[in-house]
Every structure is written in C-alpha cells, then in structure tokens.
Symmetry: C2
C-alpha cells in the first residue's frame, strides 16, 4: 500500500477542488456575519503559509493563538501545521498568570490574537520567547505590545498557492494545555497522525457522523481541545462550518442554529441548558438539527429528556479529555434499540458517556489494577489507550498519569454497563470515600439537580473523623424557591440512595463556581467549606 | 501520542465487551437463517486463531477462502490477520484455470471452502502449495481432495480467548486478485494499516456512514474486495451484520431487507435493478433502509430516479477498485443542496461517482500527464493516491499501472464537474476513439438503456478505416419489444449526442456477457463482432 503520510495536508487538500462552493460562516459578537467559501479559505490559508515562512519561524516552532472561533482561526488551524509548525491554542479564560506560564513553558514564538483580547495579552506581561504578535483583523489597536502587525496586512500580498510537502505523520501538529484543576497546566501534544485519525473518528457515524451533507456549529471554543476536532473533521469532508466568535449568548446561538440550518452542534451541558430555555421562550423549532452532542461533563438526565420530549432532538453524550484529542466515546443507540421508548433509551444509552470509538480502548480497574466487571454497578479507575491518546506531556510533565502497561490513567471513576456503555461516576479527586465505600458526587448532584426547586448543585467531600469523608451538598435554589437538608435527603432517598450515602449537611450558595472551560470548580467549594 | 499500531485487533477488540449483544445473521440459499451475536463471534474467531496455530501455518502464510458470505467467513476475516497470516479471498466465479493460477501464484497454504464449492475446488486440480483444506461446516462431504477437515471439528476444543499482540501496521493482512479483464489476474495486498484506515472511511458519513445504529447487508461478495470493506467496518462500530450466503435471488434479498430491517445495503447496479422489480412486484416498502450504495459500475440514471421516486430510497453511488481497498468516493449531496429537487440532485450528485473520501486524492490527466479542468466536459485518465491504494501488485506484477510521481493509474476515463464531483466516462480500453475525438461507451449505453424497449445495452468500438474506430451498439430488447438502428440513433440524437457520435451499426443480442463480478464483459462482444 502507498506510504501516504497521515498529515494536515490530507485533511486540507480537498477544500479547493471538491468543496470550493461550500460555506464557512462566522458570526461576531456584534451580530455581524462574515461569509466565505472553502475555495477562498484554501487560498487565504496558503497565503498565511507563505507569511509564516516570511516571519522566519523555524520548523516545529510553536505558534500560539489567543482567539475566538472564526474563519481566521480556521486558516491558522491548517497553515501552521501544513508548514511543519505547531499550533498552540491558548485558553482565553485562563488568568494572565497561567497564560504567562503556558506561553513560556511552550516557548511560543508568535501569537495570533483577536483585537478584543489584546488587553488580556498586555496583562500577561513580558513575553521573552515571542518575536511576533499578529492581530486578527485589518488594523492594529493601540497597544503597549511590541512588534504587532495586522493579519490582513501580513497575508495580503502572498500567493494563494503553497507547495505541498509530505510531512512525516509523527511530526507534532498542535499543542493544548489541560485546564489544570490539579497543579500547573500540562501540555498535550497532538501529532499529524493523531489528528488525522481523530478527524476520521469524528466523521464516523460512531463519532459525530459528520459528512458533506452537514452544517456544523461547534459551540465549543477552538482553543479547547481543537473544538473537539470539529474544524479538522468538517474541513476533511466539506461540511459547512458555522462559528460563533466571542462570548456565547443563547439567543445568538439559537438564531445561528435556525438561520444557518445547522444539522450537528456540539457543546457542554451548561450551554445546552441555556439554549433549551431560549428555545422554549422563543417557541422555536429546529427541524434541520439531526442531533446535538453534549460533552465536557455529565448532562443532567432532565436535560437529555427535555431535548427529546420538547424539541424532538436526540442528545448524544460524548466523552473525552484534552489528552484524548478529545473524542473517545459517543453514546449512540445500537440497532436493536430502534423501537425503544425514550425513557429506556435514556436509561441505557443517553445517560451514558458512550461506546468507545473504533481505535479507542477503555478499561476500568480497581485499586490493585485488576479489571472490574461491566455490571452497571462496580466503580473503578478509567484507563484509555489509542492512537490519539497522549503517552506523555510536553517536557515530560505528569509521568504519574501513564501506567506501566501503556495506558493513560484518566483520573475519572467509571462504571461499565452490561450493554457495553460506560458512565463517569466521578473524578477520582471528587469521589467521596465514606467508611470504606464510595459515593459518586456526580450521581448525587444529578439527582439533586432533578429537583424542581434546584437550579444547580455540587456535592463535595468533607473530612469526617469517623467515616473519613462525608458528602456535603452545595445547592443553588431557583429564584424564590426554598431548599432544605430534609427535602434534599428525602428526595435522594426516594431516588435510590442508601441512608448512609445521604448528605449530613447542606450549604445554600448563589452559584456553583466554574473553571475556565465551564466545569464545576469544586476545589473552590472545598476550600470554602471543609 | 501513543504508538498504537493500526491493526485488525483494533477493529476486533470491541466486539465482546461493547457489542456482545448485537446480532450477526446469515441466510443460506436453502432459506435457513443462522443467528449469532458478536460475543459468540468473538469467542469462535479466537478459537479459530488457536486452530490456525495448531495447523502449523507460518506467520504471513496466505490462507485462502473459497466461500460465500457468512458468519464463518467473518470469523476468518479476523482470525487469519489477528494471527499475522494473510487472508486470500478467492473469487468463486472464476474458472478452475484462473483459480489454479491464483492459488499457485499466491502460494496459498490452506483453503477454507464452503461445502457446495468443494466440486469447484476439485476441478482446479493439483494444489501443490496447499497443505490443508477445511470445509466450512460440521461435516466433510465425499471428495477426492486430500487432507480435508470440517471447520467445526477444527475449532471445537480450542479456548475462546487468544493473547493479543501488537502487530506492526505495515504487515500484510489480506490479498485479493483483480478480476483480470486484461491479462492474468494480479494480486492486491492489503495491510493492517490500510484496512483500518479504510474501515474508518467506510464508517465516515462521507463513506457509508456506518454506526452502531445500523443494520448492514452487503449484497457484495466477501471474496470481492472484502465486500467493499463492510465486514471490517461494521465489526469496528458494532453494526448488526446480515449476510446472504449463496446465489443472490431478488426475492430473498427483499425479504432480508424487510425482515431484518436493514438500514444500509450495498450492491452493483444489476442487483439493484432486480431488487427494484421485486419491490414493485411485491409492493413492499422498506422504511428502515436509509440509503443504498451502488458501486462496481455506473448505474443507469433511470434506476437512480426510480429508487427515489418509487421507493423513497436515496441511491449513493460509490466508486473504487480492488486496488483502492476498494472505497475511494461516494456521491453525497452537500449541505447547500438540501432543498434541491430530485432531478437536480440526480444531475449534479447521484449520477456522479462521488466526492473523494478524506485521505483519497484524485486527479484527471490528459495524455501528456497534465491535469485537465474540472469543467464537466473534459475527459482524462483518472489517477488516485492514498493510504489505502496499492503501490505495487504481488510479486511486482503490473508495474505499468503506477506513475513515476506516486499515483495509481486506474485505467478509467473520468470527467470532473465544477461542483467537485466526478464521473467515470469509460474504461480506457472501452473508450471509442473516432476521428481524433473520444466517445464514451458508458454514456451511450446509459442513454440506450433509458429507452423503454431496451433491457440491456453495451457499446463497443469496432475498427474503422476512415475514423480509426466507430461505436457499435449491442442491444438486448425487452421481451416482445423491437429495437432498430434508426430508433436508437434518433433516441440518442434527442438526448444530446452529436451526429458524428451516433452508432452506425446495431446488433441485437440475448444478453450482455458478464464477468465473474457481474460487470459487462466487453472483450467477449469485441471478439464476436469486430
């Protein structure tokens, strides 16, 4: 067989000839909408390749972006790796401190930054490794930053065609730091090979099922695990792409979903909660939307049910991590479940984190490293292995995350079902270890959030002399509603929790603190209450 | 990223844990239906792995099958490569002579044969390279063949679990000979890597879109380019698989499609023609069938239209060759075509051989090797390149098929459209070269077959002193209908053919001769009429 390397050119090369007429749409926070085509995109991305050469950036130089989702960010997604440089997507929700650490740790040589994020970059302070700053627009705003040029000036005069090379597939293509809820952020390095294989998996019907027929809206930042691989995959198959640049306002999302006739959209549960309320309020239907993908954390059961019942839209849960590129599993029903009613489907399929994609292998092990039964009950540590799973972090960080037999220790606690699906019961560090038994904080949170009076809830472990740890429920009541320890305990008892599992203490709070990527930040709660 | 090799184990490993409850159904020619599950399949395949070791077959030994589609054939699909041996699927439509040549050329060490094909194998004569013959069943029929055992006896006592090894992805996995319409058959060698990548492409929404939700019926033999990759891909994603063992009777196919609630089926146009007639006759609906894939040759436009209009089933054309694993392209509509009416979709999309899959690159070149325009008119030689395209044949045969710059010369004449699709205008050797201009025999055949009085038609070139070559129409009239040169010429003229392109001669025949894989065998017609 031909020794064709799996590299970014393989994903990029169809754009001009085969998908030249397909649209790429960007909606800016102002409401302005920019429309282009794959043909124009391919030309501009190749102009950018020349411009990167012109900047004198070495092979394998890290080129950072500090940017929202947009067509220009997509150009960078291909131009940087197609010239053998490494795209480093910076998380714009991080503190200036963390950004300074990451930029220095990665040794970024250039930063491409959105105009409105220039003030954030200014706050980062000295950037000793960085030679070039490029503002993603026509003009450069007033800034104290040195060596700043405008993106459009940078690429303006370059040719729209760039000579393709057969980049070796093990060459690094991208870099993304974990959000770092424990310790300093660590860098996950994606290769050309891992990205191509991951892209194939995203287009698989076992993945997101992306094809030329689709219009996809990743409501996931391009700085967070490559927007779950959607921009690479969509470009490879010529799906129409829609980007929402800037902060995510549910009304704008609903408007984009409807007017662009999006067929597949991906986002975290928090987004889908706000979108559901907006859809209800507007009484809007989305007949083109085939399914939505929910990932990043376990969505509440009520949310999954609501999309099915109220909007007729199936929710596919996806699971993965920055370290798994990120897509590792999606919860599709199997063929023999075709006639099952919604409740049974939610029980067995949609409430689960999925079936692993072809190529990805999962195992669930006990504390002694022995695989546990897939019986729907037994919790264990989730390990993952596959050609798009990291086997090290940048500069050798985090060696403790890799097992001796070649698996990645996810830090998640999972339960496998007899049907072959699995669910994340908790993060290892959030699990409540009470009297030798384990209590899943995630499961308890989901149950509490199913209460009508509850807006949000997080359950944390607090130290206990007798039991080692006990659960504490931090609850955000809905406006005007009242929630007490007794109502929470009796609700949980009615929903299958054993007496010894029930929380002994409740704290009413205004909001659950969130991390830079919108996940519950329990370390803040632990610091406050334990 | 983890250096996980792309090998058959990666496709096989999910079967027991994640898809154990999914069915694999085989319908035999007798009408008997055999049902099993992925769990049982995984156990039996691993028993077979032990049995292959027990037979003393070396690493990389070619292990042949002479068999219909069935669950046992599927077991061989995985057991042979998972033990580093090479699965050689023999085409049971070939002559005993060709089979003798191929078995000797490949140096097959063992042959697994269906009971009813034992007489064919007896006709092949001496099998000097073959040490073992295994009959796929419980018992061995009376035979003159030596060293014959029954499959069920062979595997009966072996353990159902086999130790997995990390097979290098460049290791050969399979072997399939081209049908050989020119010269001796040539062997295409598939590797573990090429097969895994091809399987991902088959599951892609840009390919067949196979996922866990699906039930797939490949009405394509497992001895012909791995049934277009469906068994590998379906196993990787846990789709329910349905096999029709033995000759293909349209009533049996329709019955299987309906009773097993098939969602995706693949076959050649001839099959879809007979299935359409059967569906009409039975007035049967197939509400579960999402789409059918038609490949192997250009389907008549009327057939594509009929499936849409009469049955509401979209036809996706696929194009590929034994040398391309085989799937290289599928003709899906793009997102902006969602509201197009059927006629326009057939014009622009469904009448085309497709958009190339991610990973596959196509180019169309003139006689001087220069790329021609994708203008919907200009014909040229089709070249293909990709990680699942051969770069040589077994033992170095057919070196003339590979260009110096690393592309495979398909032997097809293609026309690219401005929309990025392409269509096969002809085989290079079937093209009619008249007075310096090219006439596509395929296009003319399709037009003639659209006539109500015509059942089948093949157009061949006959030598001509003045024009070099001229078209001759070989026409099979429908029962009771009459067709003449004049009616054919006037029909073609009405349908856009120029005067100089019209055939000067017609031959009425009883049937168009077919090759072992059901394609028009024009060399027989050329021998008869030129």
């Amino acid at each position: 067989m031909m020794d064709v390397p799996l590299n970014a050119w393989l994903l990029f090369s169809h754009a001009p000839t085969h998908f030249g007429d397909v649209e790429i749409v960007t909606r800016f926070e102002s409401g302005d909408v920019h429309r282009t085509t794959y043909e124009a995109f391919a030309g501009r991305a190749q102009q950018l390749m020349h411009a990167l050469d012109h900047l004198g950036l070495d092979e394998q130089a890290p080129v950072a972006t500090l940017a929202w989702n947009s067509y220009r960010h997509l150009e960078l997604y291909f131009a940087v790796p197609c010239t053998k440089r490494v795209l480093h997507t910076l998380n714009l929700r991080l503190s200036a401190d963390d950004l300074a650490y990451i930029i220095g740790h990665a040794k970024d040589r250039a930063i491409f930054v959105d105009s409105d994020l220039v003030p954030l970059l200014e706050k980062v302070g000295e950037l000793p490794t960085v030679d070039h700053i490029v503002v993603l627009g026509d003009t450069v705003p007033d800034t104290s930053l040195p060596n700043v040029v405008a993106y459009e000036d940078l690429i303006a005069d370059a040719p729209t065609s760039y000579p393709r090379t057969d980049i070796d597939e093990r060459t690094p293509l991208g870099l993304c730091y974990t959000s770092g809820t424990t310790g300093r952020p660590k860098g996950a390095v994606y290769t050309h090979r891992s990205t191509v294989l991951h892209s194939f998996a995203v287009t698989s019907a076992a993945g997101f099922g992306l094809g030329p027929q689709d219009c996809v809206l990743p409501i996931v930042p391009m700085f967070h695990a490559n927007a779950w691989g959607v921009p690479h995959a969509a470009t490879a198959v010529g799906a129409k792409q829609v980007f929402a640049a800037g902060s995510l306002d549910p009304a704008a999302i609903v408007d984009l979903l409807a007017t662009e006739r999006v067929t597949v959209a991906s986002g975290v549960p928090t987004i889908w909660l706000t979108v559901a309320d907006e859809l209800s309020a507007q009484q809007r239907k989305l007949p083109d939307l085939r399914h939505i993908v929910s990932g990043g954390s376990q969505p509440p059961r009520a949310l999954i049910e609501r999309y099915g019942r109220e909007f007729g839209i199936p929710v596919a849960q996806a699971w993965g991590m920055t370290e798994t590129s990120p897509l590792a599993s999606v919860s599709w029903p199997k063929n023999h479940m075709v006639d099952w009613d919604d409740e049974r489907l939610v029980d067995v399929v949609r409430s689960q984190a999925g079936l692993p994609l072809p190529g990805v292998e999962l195992c669930i092990r006990d504390d002694n490293g022995v695989e546990v039964a897939w019986d729907g009950k037994t919790m264990g540590d989730l390990y993952v292995r596959g050609p798009w799973v990291v086997d090290t972090y940048l500069h050798g960080d985090g060696a403790e995350c890799f097992s001796e037999d070649g698996w990645f220790r996810t830090g998640d606690i999972a339960v496998g079902s007899p049907d072959g699906y699995f669910v994340i019961a908790d993060r290892t560090k959030d699990l409540i270890k009470s009297g030798g038994e384990w209590i899943s904080s995630v499961e308890m949170e989901a149950a509490i959030m199913a209460m009508g009076d509850v807006a949000e809830a997080a359950v944390i472990a607090v130290p206990d002399e007798k039991w080692q740890e006990r659960p504490l429920a931090c609850v955000v009541p809905r406006t005007g509603a009242s929630v007490s320890l007794d109502t929470v305990r009796s609700h949980l008892e009615q929903h299958g929790f054993a007496k010894w599992q029930l929380p002994d203490r409740i704290e009413l709070i205004d909001a659950v603190p969130k991390t830079g990527v919108g996940k519950f930040d329990k370390k803040v709660l632990r610091a406050r209450f334990s």
